[in-house]
Amino acid sequence: MSKWIEVVELNNIPVLGSRLIKTRDTDIAVFRGSDDQVYAIRDACPHKGGPLSQGIMHGSTVTCPLHNWKIDLGSGNALAPDHGCGNVFAVKVEGGKVFLQL
C-alpha cells in the first residue's frame, strides 16, 4: 500500500522553484507555484530524461532545461506540439509540511 510520507517544509522550496527528492528507486522533483500549490513529478523529462527539477517553472508548467519541452505539472503531460507523459505523484500540504504518496 502506498502511504503519505513527509518530505520537506513548504518554506524550504523556493517559490516558482523546486527541490530534488531522492528515494531508493527514483528522483522526484517537488515544485512550488506562486500560489503555493505544490506538484511532484519524476525528475526525468519524457523527452530524453532531462532533469525537470532544474527547469524554469511558470504557472503550473515547467520548461525542461535540456530541450525546452514544456511539461504540465498537474497531469505530467507534455504540452502540444510535443507528446509524452511524466510520472506525477500525489502530493499534499498539511501544517506547512509537504507530503508525497509513494
Binding site: 516558482l16 532544474q54 511558470h58 532545461p65 506540439p81
Partner: protein, 813 residues
C-alpha cells in the same frame, strides 16, 4: 491629338499596376475608364491578412484612393460589375446599364476562391478569403462567435487562421495531407512551422477530409469523412483559386484554365483586348502571386504605350508567409530527385532550417525556415543559374560569409551586391533602393516605398529595406515601430519595456508586469529571464536578483550537460596561469574524480561530468587556490583571449597579454544580454582571432584598433571597425562604454552581431565616438554596475548561499 479610349475591367492589383506603368510611359495617350466590382479604390489585396490580424487598417492598405483617379483624369466606376463585352461594337456594359466604348480593353478580373462542393456549403458563415467583404465577415463573426474552421493548410489558409486566432477565435485548420504548405515546404520545414503555430494555439486536424457542413440557416459544425465532427460558427475555405474567366468566355475569347494570352499580354483571340493578372494563362501557367503579375503589367503597359519592345516570358516565383514572427521562404524545386543533391542545416533548438537543392552545381530550389535573410541571394543564384562549386562548402552560411576576410565595416545587407533583389514582389534591387535613398534624401520606410515600391506589396522584405535605410542614412533614420512583443505574455516590445522600466522607475518584476498588463501571473521562461536582466541592468545596486528567473546554467553557475551533470570553468585572466594554479586544478580534478578535462577555445580549462551536489565543495577548493568563476555558463562576459604579443612574439607591437588581463579585470562578472567574448591580438596577424569576437582589439605600431560585433557561432560574422585609439587607458574606456551601451540597448538574448545589424553601426559610433561626454557617462555607469557584479558567485555558494539549490533531500522509501 485624338485620344483613344482605354477601358480596364477589374480594379485590382494587376489592372491598376498596368495603368500606373502606362501613365509613366504615355500619360496623354488614352482616355481611361475603370470598372471595379468592389466599392473601393485600389487596395493591396495581399495585405488583407495583416488587416484580419489587426496589424493594419483598411486605410493603410489603400494603394490608390479615389483622388488618384481624379488626379490622373481616370473615370472610375466603382461597385459596377461588367456583365457583357460586345466585341463587334467595342463596348462593355455593366449590370446597371453603364456603357463604355473602347479602342483597347484590358481584362483583369482576377480569380475566385475555389469552394468545395460539399453538402451545406451554401450556409451562412461559409466563406472564402479574397476581398475586403470576406475580411469584414470574419471580423464580424469573430466578435460574436467562438469556433472557426479553416479548410486548407496552405499559404492563404494559415494566414486566415492566424488572423482569426488574433481576433480571439478558437481556430482549427483542416488539411487533407499530413504536412502543411506542401507545395512550398518539405516535411522538416513544414513540421517546424506546424510546431510554432501550434505553440501559438492553432489546432490542426491533418489528414482529414471534410464530408459535410452542418447547421440550419447558419453553420454549426463540420463533419469529416471519418465520421468525427467539430463545432464551427465560421468555415473559411482556402483550398485554392480558379481564374475568373466568366466574362472572357462569354465574350468568345479562347480560354483554357485562364484567358489565353501571348507574350505581349494580348488575348490570342482579339489583339485589341489585353488580359493580365490571375485571370490569365500564359505559356500554360496561371499565376497566383503578385510578382509575375507586376511583370505582366510592365509588358502590357509597354505595348499599350506603343513602344512594343517588351515581351513577357514567364516568371520564377518564390513564396513567403505573412504571419508575424514566422520567417519562411521557399522557391523552385525543393524536393529534388535522383539527379540532385541536398545541402541541409537543421537546428531544432533555435528553430532554424535550411535546405538547398543543387543540380550540376546550380541551385534548383531552396526552403528556409527561421532565418530567411539569404532567401533573396539563393533565389538570385537560382535564377541566374550561377555555378556555386567555388563556395559550395559555405553556401548554407549565406552570402555575407563570402570573402570577408579583413575589415568589413558593413553588415549583412550592406554586403549584398547592387543587383541583389531585395523586394521580390516588385523586383526592386538593392542598387535602386540605395540610389533613391541617397539621391532623393529619403528617411523613412514610407518614403522608400513611395519612391521605389520596395516593400510596398507583401512587406516580407521590410526588414531588409529598413536595414538598408539604417545603413545608408545611419543615425537619422527613424524606424517605423517594431510591433513584435517580447513574448506571448505581453503586447509590448523589448524596447517599450526597457524604456518603461527607467521612465516609470519600475524596480521589481511584479511592478513591470502590472504596469505593462501582463497576461500571465508569473510570466514564462522568455520574459522572466529578460525582465530579471533588464532590472539588473537598470538598477545594478538596488535590484535583488531572482534565481528562479535564470536558466539553470546561471542558477547553478555551471553548464548543464546532456546527462544532467555540470561542467566547471575557473577564470584564468587573459589565459595566463602559473604552475601552482595548474597543480591546484589538477588536485581538484583528482579529488572529485573529474572524468574529462579540456582546454576550451577561450583558453580556459573545462572540467566535465560534475554532479550538482559536488559543485559547492569543488568551488570551495578552487576558491582556496585563488580561482573565481569563469562565467562560462552565463549570459555574461566570458573570456578575453590573447596572443603572446610583444613580450615574446617577434611580431608583437604591444603587450597584448597584459592588456587582455586588464580588460578581463575590468569586465569579468558583468551580466550581458547574451554571452560576450573579447580578444586581444598583438599585431595584425591576429593570432587571438580578435575579429570574430564581440570586442576585438588588434594592436598596431601606432596604437590599438577596436573592433566590435563579431561572432564565431552558427553564423560567423566578422567585426566592424569601431575606431583606433592610442593608449591602453582609451582601450579600457571605450570597451567599458561599448559594453554598457550594448547592455542598455540590446534585447535580451541578442548577441552583439545581430544587434548591430538591427540598430546600425552608425548608432553605435554616434554613442561612443561622436559624443565624448556620453562615452564617459556610459563608462561611469559600467564601472558602477561592475562593483556589485564582481563578487564571485562560486565563493558565495561555497560559503553556503542558496544551499537548498544544491542539496537534494534523501528519503527512505
Amino acid at each position: 491629338m485624338h485620344k483613344e479610349n482605354l477601358v480596364l475591367i477589374g480594379n485590382g492589383m494587376a489592372g491598376v499596376r498596368t495603368l500606373e506603368e502606362l501613365l509613366k510611359l504615355a500619360p496623354d495617350h488614352y482616355n481611361i475608364t475603370v470598372f471595379g466590382e468592389e466599392p473601393y479604390g485600389n487596395y493591396n489585396r495581399i495585405m488583407l491578412s495583416p488587416v484580419l490580424a489587426s496589424e493594419k487598417t483598411i486605410e493603410q492598405i489603400m494603394l490608390n484612393g479615389e483622388q488618384w483617379y481624379i488626379d490622373n483624369g481616370i473615370t472610375l466606376h466603382k461597385g459596377k460589375k461588367v456583365e457583357q463585352i460586345n466585341r463587334a461594337r467595342r463596348e462593355v456594359i455593366a449590370t446597371d446599364g453603364t456603357v463604355a466604348h473602347y479602342d483597347r480593353l484590358i481584362i483583369a478580373t482576377g480569380s475566385v476562391p475555389f469552394m468545395l462542393p460539399l453538402p451545406g456549403a451554401d450556409k451562412a458563415g461559409v466563406i472564402g478569403f479574397r476581398d475586403i467583404k470576406d475580411v469584414d465577415t470574419m471580423l464580424d463573426t469573430a466578435s460574436q462567435y467562438k469556433h472557426a474552421v479553416v479548410i486548407g493548410g496552405g499559404l492563404l489558409g494559415l494566414e486566415a487562421a492566424n488572423g482569426l486566432m488574433k481576433q480571439g477565435m478558437n481556430v482549427t485548420v483542416v488539411h487533407l495531407l499530413d504536412t502543411l504548405m506542401e507545395r512550398q515546404l518539405d516535411k522538416p520545414a513544414a513540421a517546424m512551422l506546424q510546431k510554432s503555430l501550434a505553440e501559438r494555439g492553432m489546432i490542426f486536424l491533418m489528414e482529414h477530409s471534410t464530408a459535410e457542413i452542418i447547421g440550419g440557416e447558419r453553420v454549426t459544425a463540420v463533419r469529416f469523412k471519418n465520421g468525427t465532427e467539430i463545432p464551427a460558427d465560421l468555415v473559411v475555405m482556402a483550398v485554392g483559386i480558379k481564374p475568373n474567366t466568366e466574362l472572357g468566355k462569354s465574350a468568345g475569347l479562347y480560354c483554357e484554365r485562364g484567358i489565353v494570352v501571348s507574350d505581349t499580354m494580348q488575348t490570342i483571340t482579339d489583339p485589341k483586348i489585353y488580359a493580365i493578372g490571375e485571370c490569365v494563362q500564359h505559356r500554360g501557367i496561371a499565376y497566383g502571386l503578385v510578382a509575375p503579375l507586376f511583370e505582366q503589367a510592365k509588358v502590357a503597359a509597354n505595348h499599350l504605350a506603343k513602344h512594343g519592345i517588351a515581351r513577357y516570358v514567364g516568371t520564377v516565383t518564390s513564396t513567403k508567409l505573412k504571419v508575424t514572427g514566422i520567417e519562411l521562404f521557399s522557391a523552385g524545386d525543393f524536393t529534388g530527385n535522383d539527379q540532385t543533391e541536398d545541402i541541409v542545416f537543421k537546428d531544432a533548438a533555435s528553430g532554424t532550417y535550411k535546405k538547398i537543392v543543387l543540380q550540376d552545381n546550380q541551385v534548383k530550389g531552396a526552403v528556409l525556415y527561421g532565418d530567411t535573410v539569404d532567401g533573396s541571394w539563393y533565389f538570385q543564384l537560382m535564377k541566374d543559374g550561377t555555378d556555386v562549386s567555388a563556395f559550395r562548402d559555405t553556401l548554407l552560411f549565406g552570402q555575407h560569409h563570402l570573402g570577408d576576410s579583413g575589415h568589413n565595416p558593413d553588415t549583412r545587407v550592406a554586403s549584398l551586391p547592387d543587383n541583389a533583389e531585395i523586394c521580390g514582389c516588385n523586383g526592386v534591387c538593392k542598387g535602386d533602393i540605395v540610389k533613391a535613398i541617397t539621391e532623393k534624401k529619403l528617411f523613412t520606410l514610407d518614403e522608400v516605398r513611395a519612391h521605389t515600391k520596395a516593400s510596398a506589396s507583401c512587406g516580407s522584405c521590410t526588414g531588409l529595406v529598413e536595414s538598408l535605410l539604417a545603413h545608408t542614412v545611419g543615425g537619422d533614420y527613424s524606424a517605423t515601430p517594431k510591433t513584435k512583443p517580447l513574448c506571448k505574455c505581453t503586447d509590448y516590445t523589448h524596447d517599450d519595456i526597457r524604456h518603461g522600466i527607467i521612465q516609470h522607475s519600475l524596480k521589481t518584476m511584479p511592478a513591470v508586469r502590472e504596469h505593462f498588463e501582463w497576461k500571465t501571473p508569473d510570466g514564462c521562461p522568455s520574459c522572466r529571464n529578460a525582465l530579471n536582466y533588464y532590472l539588473l541592468c537598470a538598477y545594478p545596486t538596488e535590484y535583488v536578483d531572482d534565481a528562479q528567473s535564470r536558466y539553470i546554467n546561471e542558477r547553478a553557475h555551471g553548464n548543464i550537460q546532456k546527462d544532467g551533470s555540470y561542467s566547471v570553468v575557473p577564470r584564468m585572466f587573459g589565459g595566463m596561469c602559473t604552475s601552482d594554479q595548474l597543480r591546484a586544478i589538477a588536485d581538484v580534478a583528482d579529488k572529485y574524480q573529474v572524468p574529462t578535462m579540456k582546454v576550451t577555445g577561450g583558453q580556459r580549462i573545462d572540467m566535465f561530468g560534475i554532479k550538482k551536489e559536488q559543485l559547492p565543495a569543488m568551488w570551495k577548493d578552487l576558491s582556496a587556490a585563488g580561482f573565481v568563476s569563469g562565467h562560462a555558463y552565463g549570459k555574461a562576459m566570458r573570456t578575453v583571449k590573447t596572443c603572446v604579443g610583444s613580450e615574446w612574439c617577434r611580431f608583437g607591437t604591444q603587450d597584448s597579454t597584459g592588456l587582455g588581463v586588464k580588460l578581463e579585470e575590468l569586465t569579468w562578472g558583468s551580466w550581458m544580454p547574451h554571452k560576450f567574448k573579447l580578444a586581444v591580438s598583438g599585431c595584425p596577424r591576429n593570432c587571438a582571432e580578435a575579429t570574430i569576437k564581440d570586442i576585438g582589439v588588434v594592436c598596431v605600431d601606432s596604437g590599438y584598433e577596436l573592433h566590435i560585433g563579431g561572432n564565431g557561432g552558427i553564423k560567423v560574422r566578422v567585426t566592424d571597425l569601431l575606431c583606433k585609439v592610442a593608449t591602453e587607458e582609451e582601450v579600457l574606456e571605450y570597451t567599458g562604454a561599448f559594453c554598457q551601451f550594448y547592455r542598455e540597448d540590446a534585447h535580451y538574448l541578442e548577441r552583439t552581431a545581430p544587434w548591430i545589424e538591427r540598430v546600425g553601426l552608425e548608432k553605435v559610433k554616434t554613442a561612443i565616438l561622436s559624443d565624448a561626454a556620453n562615452r564617459k557617462a556610459l563608462y561611469e555607469r559600467f564601472l558602477i554596475s561592475q562593483q556589485p557584479a564582481q563578487i564571485d558567485p562560486w565563493k558565495a555558494r561555497a560559503d553556503g548561499a542558496e544551499a537548498a539549490e544544491f542539496t537534494p533531500i534523501m528519503i527512505e522509501a
